[in-house]
Symmetry: C2
Subunit: 394 residues, 2 copies
Amino acid sequence: MVRVNTNYKNLKQNYLFANIAKKLSDYTAAHPTAKIIKMGIGDVTQPLSIPVVEALVKASFEMGVKETFRGYAPDEQGYSFLKLSIADYYKNNSNVDLDEREIFVSDGAKSDVANFTDLFSNDNTIIIPDPVYPVYLDSNIMLGRKIILINGNDANGFLPLPTEGLQGDIIYLCSPNNPTGAVYTKDQLKQWVDFAIDRNAVILFDAAYEAFISDSDLPRSIYEIPDAKRCAVEFCSLSKTAGFTGTRCGYTIVPEELIVDGESLNNMWMRRQTTKFNGTAYIIQRAAEAVFSKEGLESCKTIIDYYRGNAKIMTDTMSKLSIWHTGGLNSPYVWMKCGMDSWEYFDTLLNDINIVGTPGSGFGRCGAGYFRLTAFNTRENTIEAMERFSKLFK
Amino acid sequence: MVRVNTNYKNLKQNYLFANIAKKLSDYTAAHPTAKIIKMGIGDVTQPLSIPVVEALVKASFEMGVKETFRGYAPDEQGYSFLKLSIADYYKNNSNVDLDEREIFVSDGAKSDVANFTDLFSNDNTIIIPDPVYPVYLDSNIMLGRKIILINGNDANGFLPLPTEGLQGDIIYLCSPNNPTGAVYTKDQLKQWVDFAIDRNAVILFDAAYEAFISDSDLPRSIYEIPDAKRCAVEFCSLSKTAGFTGTRCGYTIVPEELIVDGESLNNMWMRRQTTKFNGTAYIIQRAAEAVFSKEGLESCKTIIDYYRGNAKIMTDTMSKLSIWHTGGLNSPYVWMKCGMDSWEYFDTLLNDINIVGTPGSGFGRCGAGYFRLTAFNTRENTIEAMERFSKLFK
């Protein structure tokens, strides 16, 4: 008789965003004419840039012609044309040198972040900051792992650091953070790198929001910290950098010098991906290549500056209303204190001013009493939302 | 100290097709002018059809315009427009009724086949036919599962059936089979369905090659067998149906009545996918929708008939040379007896007549002494390959 993986029973029944979607659809059914402004899920609203669309169209036509048609991508987990573009991007942004073999192209950072933990034994202890992007937690619950949550709070600016006596083998860090928008400094990240090297631990570093960092002193890659290649894997994505949430392309850096427990994680990840994944569509890889072109990066910057402008309008409003908040400046997220239960606040915003945000408690125990708003809306909607906000909380 | 998943040490160091690629690149480096004909990896050569390219281009332009841009796909694992097309396809081909909620769209059958086993406990026993597509085996080795191989051979036409005393909880079946091209009849599949229902076992049915079935008496879906929805998950793909090997789209059917160990596998797979996957690109889903349109299906049929014509040239050659073989008629694969070791045969074909095939031994112990050739080449190359073949073995 077949038996299921009983670890699934320890997961919450519904994924956070599914709950929100349900509440929203119930509200919309009851109030069909309400003008809802969605600042909940971290989804972009600006279209793909012209160079990206041109690359998609060109590659689509190539796929329709026998001479330029492409079947299975090479086993190397990404075409060279894209991996070399990514290496250049790292060199220019962070002065980090990457070999092509250290870059693995995928259908998005979510898949890679969730699957990477499969490379480790189930008897490791996992360190996860709280509040947190739910995927780190859930993908480890599915494996029955021992998990230690470390607390983010207003005292540490939602940037927990290694403390005396902390024990663990695998550490998830996300900077700029989802959901809090907080960004680790180089000194802070160095504390984590030192911790990991001391204990032969591995850092799984989620850099999905690196493109939003405007302060040049803040690290956009963990590899800006010396020795990080010996202890850290980095996940990145074009979802927020270039509006690829519906186009799907990410990449993971697994340094060749990252040897743990006698094994090369680069080799293991290659074995995992060649066995359980069949590569990212050729046309999508061409679109991603266009993101990293001169024109592509300029277009991305224009769009990110647009979202940053939204974030500034939001944080200015919070400041004016004396609401405690973090994020916004180097991140598309603004994380704020509710002064009440997070889901009660969710209901208040939805019912009273037709704004959808994300309850902080959905990201963990330490998120209780906090709320996340995103800057991924249009300028007009952001302005209108903040006007409604100011009226409600004046 | 972090510990790795030591089950990875039980995997063969290199994936079959990586070995072949290495041998091929070594040969090409030494013989740069050789005209190699590749009949090894099951990759298509014909371009995407016109309706599919048109859909890709149209969707790409939509992504560049704010009003029609799409971000994250709905959590339901596929847009309705595509899932309804897939449901129609099943109704028309197999007279099988599917609810939209039973269909999960993905980036390809390989990912789904490899990931699905994560839903089960590691103390299940896995039944896998030998020879076999390596992903079934490797994805279970990665989890340290107990695996029972059941033998395919010339006596059973490489279609093993449940035998007296066979014990196991999860059964992988692939029909039309990769690598052998053999296809189970309805009566044979019924034996497997009865076996599964008797023992509360689950069948993971890989139907990636269903579109190649020309004999209308043969089942294209396991759900043509009564009660199969109570015991079987089905994986399918557009890779071979519509030349999507480099475009990436597949789908998995998890029936709502499939309850095992008290749990709905449909619910569990939804939970897995919403946590560890972020959906298939919108433009790719539009391309897939075009595959299932009237014009799209006609184009697919034309291309599949073309490959079938290649297969006929191949099997006619084998018959003429009195080489034992199976497949070809309802499958793009021809599986043949070597009369020598499979890798020795590989080297002979590569060195003497510049043909690349796949050694049967790479698919398991029972594949030793056999060889796989694919019909996915051009007509001209297939004819030339068979002429070279006839000269070598005359």
